[in-house]
């Protein structure tokens, strides 16, 4: 707005325009941004309760986003808990204005029901555009009574039934359950844990034989167990690189990924509907575990501005330092890359879904 195309304008006119512009600028902060009308306040719906993982994640990002978006809008976090994030997401899908002033932050437990076509879901990721996604990783570990090394344990779990405490059969643990099944383990999933932490407690009490934690929880609570010989790490889920391959998790570079373990055992990469289901749920639940989204019909230049703002800080050292504790050693993915991955991850073809429905019923007696 302040750049002049017509150099023929005389100084007086220039000055007049500058004055006019700065007056406008003083009235509205928005005018400062290059043709972008950034709202003063952005309401960020978090379909989870206060203090939960996604809430803390959002509060962490809200400062960074607010500081880097032009005009420094105020970010207000609006917690709408209920239905394991379905209720809040439904409300957002129904009500959110498309002027870029409303965001939603979702997590694996928002993505999974959409993929499984839960009948309560009335939102669609097709209507939303991602700004940023944060990945996480995870490690599967077992009781040392099953064996001293990962090989021994993996051998043992194919011969005996092992117990695994999960929140629900279709929760965050779903890809882990599929992975263990692919490895030939006979897993009995005991559901009804209220958090992954409760699952770990069942493991520490010796009730569960096998357990799984995401990266940050693994570092704070499982590593001490491993060090004192009370847990044996088996494999990590790995991370997805930009070309869509699952590679070693930078947080656990010493641990093989599930795919590596499978290949050593079977001599080839996993394939078939089970492998396909694993891939999809791993991608949408871990590679893109938490997402910042807004309605797709928001103004393009605003979406662009938000993405650029995210880009401005994710690569800085200051951000990485602070993010280490919150996100682990993973870099958030910004903009169009997320969009591609998201489309890919959320689309579950009918054959895979059918396989999943049957598998859940047969293996775990769970209906979806």
């Amino acid at each position: 707005m302040t750049t002049m195309k017509h150099t023929s304008l005389n100084t007086f006119k220039k000055a007049l325009i500058v004055v006019a512009c700065s007056t406008l600028g003083a009235i509205s902060v928005n005018a400062q941004a290059n043709d972008v009308n950034v709202p003063d306040t952005i309401h960020w719906t978090i379909p989870f309760g206060v203090g939960g993982g996604t809430d803390v994640w959002a509060r962490f990002f809200s400062t960074w986003m607010s500081d880097h978006i032009k005009g420094n809008p105020t970010l207000v976090i609006d917690n709408v808990p209920g239905g394991g994030s379905i209720n809040g997401s439904n409300l957002f899908a129904m009500r959110a204005a498309a002027d870029g002033s409303q965001w939603i932050g979702t997590s694996a437990s928002t993505q999974y029901p959409a993929m499984l076509q839960d009948r309560r879901v009335r939102y669609s990721y097709n209507d939303w555009t991602p700004i940023l996604a944060t990945p996480t990783g995870g490690v599967v570990y077992a009781q040392p009574s099953l064996g001293d090394s990962a090989e021994e344990v993996l051998n043992a779990v194919t011969n005996q039934r092992v117990k695994f405490a999960v929140q629900s059969h279709t929760g965050l643990e779903l890809p882990v359950l599929i992975a263990l099944d692919l490895l030939g383990a006979d897993v009995q999933a005991v559901s009804g844990m209220r958090s992954r932490g409760e699952g770990r407690l069942a493991f520490e009490r010796g009730e569960a034989d096998i357990d799984f934690q995401t990266t940050s929880a693994y570092f704070s609570s499982v590593e001490p167990l491993v060090e004192s010989g009370r847990a044996v790490p088996l494999f990590s889920l790995g991370v997805l690189n930009d070309s869509g391959e699952i590679v070693r998790d930078p947080a656990f570079s010493d641990l093989p990924t599930f795919n590596e373990v499978y290949e050593t055992l079977h001599g080839e990469a996993p394939s078939g509907p089970a492998a396909e289901a694993y891939r999809k749920f791993f991608a949408s639940g871990f590679t893109l575990q938490k997402l910042i989204l807004l309605p797709s019909d928001a103004p393009d230049e605003l979406i662009q501005e938000y993405r650029e703002a995210a880009q401005r800080f994710v690569d800085t050292e200051a951000f990485k330092d602070e993010a280490e504790a919150q996100l682990g050693p993973y870099t958030p993915v910004v903009g169009e890359v997320v969009e591609q991955h998201l489309q890919e991850a959320m689309s579950l073809d009918d054959a895979t879904r059918q396989w999943l429905v049957e598998w859940l019923l047969e293996q775990h007696g769970a209906r979806i």
Binding site: V190, G192, S195, L201, R205, S220
Partner: protein, 647 residues
């Protein structure tokens, strides 16, 4: 270790630390006093400010808040009959009865004093426990947790006294309502009736407010008195309450002990603790006749327990990173925002901060109790205000509080429906605490039973811990009746007559009883049919609940047939009118929005029903609206905007 203990105490008394802790305490008190806003809402107020704060100072502020909420929420429980938060539900029973007798100040001062004692004992337990707790907490497996839920359920028998079958039936209804939502074993949905709101089950806050608060409001409106039936003698009651506590150090210590230990067990909601200790107070009392009608022990027991429980809940939170209560869950989020990872390593690397937390808890308990005692006098005078003036304000407050549960219009409907059940129960003298205990324990009982059976198989029920708790349950069921039986066996003339009288005295039946028994049996039949397509595992709990209801109803019917009973006149029409009015209010919220309805309802009620002067009525209605708008700003709320929004 000791030196860290004291160096962290030194840090506590620095100016910024004290300042922020006082801020935390003040916010905690305000949040505690406003019904329905518990620790979770309070924490959400503070969370945005935590980012970038010095951890020890921030922790002081958070703990100040956590510690005083179970102190401040006593005001609402005692003065208004509304459970201030889930931790003070049991306090309502006798606390509110005392307030109605004009002894609000006595109830309050003893509640605050026992809260403080409980909090301090809890802090001491926490200090010792944090070092040795790990094996203890790890020894509670799913089977012991299941037994603890049974111990909680056994309190129903203790609490329902004479009307034991009605109590058990009420508990069965609570169990059934508690199974709404997802089956923990199979992920099936039960009783959703295709309503989104019901998929999650009903929130505890809504059920608590519905079963206790609404019936009380309606009852008082029908009677049209002030809350206190006699003028409140504050000066005298004050000292009396302190003496009441001083006379019962054993009760305070035992309840605080139970509270802090129960708090340390992750997964067992803090809301059970107050009922367990209330039941304990009833059990251990020689004269049980005044419980429910205003026995000070019924206030002291849960109040000493709930503060201690808040301390105990910190153990699993700090040690395992697993929150022991809803508030602790938010506190955990706060820790993460401060860059602290709870877990065993927290004790090793941040022992000083851990002790800061404990010291802050202790100090905040003292501060909170002192502040509350100071406030008791002015606030207790509320009970002398004619209730018709308070009624609209309280009604709006309850609507607001219930709406905080999931921020869905479903909260308001659930409140109305549970409220209607509560009105029936209250009029016919069916135990409302029994209902609530059933509701609270249903999900836990089912999940832990399923988990214990899956994890441990048949061995689950042979474990020593299980047997110990089983013996406790048996004792709590058998010992009290045995004692009273033995007392009757060796009678002096007088007490024999007395006992005889009590035996024969009123086994009464009224029209509501008949209606309740009939409709419960009908509902049970319908439910049994509706559950037909549930799998075995998913259906076992609701079917059990139905079986309990049917058995209790049938036994009650048999009892009334064979024993002499008196026909009791139970009036209801006026109460039902008010319930209908409440639903009209909800309909108005749907059409005109919450703020507009609140303003209009207050104004209309104050002018027409309370016959206030227009100026005063407008002023009051305006301040209610301003309060709601202020809260909306603070908590970033969106109220229902009307025209059937959000369905």
């Amino acid at each position: 270790m000791i030196d860290v203990l004291f160096s962290s105490l030194g840090q506590l008394f620095t100016v910024p630390h004290m300042l922020y802790m006082v801020i935390g305490v003040l916010i905690g008190l305000i949040v505690g006093i406003i019904p329905g806003l518990g620790g979770i809402a309070g924490m959400s107020l503070l969370l945005p400010f935590l980012y970038g704060m010095e951890p020890s100072v921030a922790l002081g502020m958070l703990m100040g808040l956590v510690a005083v909420i179970p102190t401040g929420d006593t005001f609402a429980s005692v003065l208004l009959g509304i459970p201030g938060s889930s931790a003070s539900q049991a306090t309502v029973v006798d606390g509110f009865a005392l307030a109605k007798k004009g002894q609000a100040a006595r109830a309050l001062s003893s509640a605050f004093l026992s809260s403080m004692m409980g909090g301090l004992i809890g802090a001491v337990v926490l200090t010792a426990f944090i070092l040795i707790a790990r094996p203890v907490v790890l020894s509670f497996s799913s089977s012991e947790l299941f037994m603890l839920t049974l111990l909680g359920l056994s309190m129903v028998a203790v609490l329902s006294g004479k009307d034991v079958f009605k109590g058990i039936a009420a508990c069965g209804v609570g169990l059934l309502v508690g199974t709404i939502g997802m089956a923990p074993a199979t992920g099936e949905f039960r009783l959703p009736f295709e309503i989104d709101y019901l998929y999650d089950g009903l929130p505890l806050v809504v059920v608590g407010l519905g079963i206790f608060a609404l019936p009380e409001i309606i009852d008082l409106l029908v009677k049209r008195g002030a809350i206190a039936e006699q003028p409140c003698q504050l000066g005298k009651g004050w000292k009396e309450g302190v003496k009441d506590v001083a006379r019962r150090p054993g009760l305070v210590a035992r309840c605080a002990g139970i509270g802090s230990l129960m708090g340390t067990i992750p997964g067992l909601a803090g809301s059970v603790v107050d009922w367990l200790t209330y039941g304990h107070a009833v059990q251990s009392a020689k004269d049980k006749s005044q419980f429910g009608k205003g026995d000070i022990r019924g206030v002291i027991a849960p109040e000493s327990a709930n503060n201690a429980c808040a301390c105990g809940a910190m153990v699993p939170t700090l040690l395992f990173g697993i929150p022991g209560s809803g508030t602790a869950a938010v506190f955990l989020g706060g820790l993460l925002l401060l860059g602290l990872q709870p877990g065993v390593s927290m004790l090793e690397t941040n022992l000083d901060l851990t002790y800061t937390i404990i010291w802050s808890l202790a100090l905040a308990n003292i501060l909170g109790a002192a502040l509350c005692l100071g406030l008791a006098r002015p606030v207790a005078s509320l009970t002398r205000v004619p209730f018709v003036i308070l009624a609209p304000l309280i009604t709006i407050l309850i609507l607001f509080a219930a709406y905080q549960a999931t921020r869905s219009l479903g909260d308001l409907f659930a409140l109305g429906i549970i409220g209607a059940i509560g009105v029936l129960f209250k009029q016919a003298n069916w135990s409302r605490p029994a209902f609530l205990i059933g509701f609270v324990l249903a999900p836990g009982a089912e999940a832990y039973f399923y988990q214990a059976a899956q994890f441990q198989g048949a061995e689950a029920f042979m474990r020593p811990g299980v047997l110990i708790i089983g013996a406790l349950i048996a004792a709590s069921l058998i010992v009290p009746p045995l004692c009273s039986y033995l007392q009757k066996r060796r009678p002096t003339e007088n007490s024999a007559k007395h006992a005889l009288q009590e035996e024969v005295a009123p086994l009464s039946l009224g029209v509501i009883d008949v209606a309740l028994l009939g409709s419960l049996l009908a509902v049970a039949g319908y439910m049994w049919w509706a559950f037909a397509d549930l799998s075995m595992l998913g259906g076992i709990m609701p079917r059990l609940a139905i079986a309990i209801i049917v058995a209790a109803c049938v036994l009650e019917i048999i009892r009334t047939v064979i024993k002499p009973m008196k026909w009791q006149i139970q009036t209801l029409s006026q109460q039902l009118l008010w319930v209908a009015g409440f639903f009209a209010l909800i309909a108005s919220v749907m059409v005109f929005g919450f703020l507009f309805t609140a303003a209009l309802f207050c104004l209309g009620f104050l002018l027409v029903v309370a016959r206030m002067k227009p100026v005063a009525a407008v002023g009051l209605a305006a301040s209610v609206t301003l309060f709601l708008m202020g809260m909306a700003n603070l908590l970033t709320l969106t109220y229902p905007t009307g025209v059937l929004a959000g369905l």
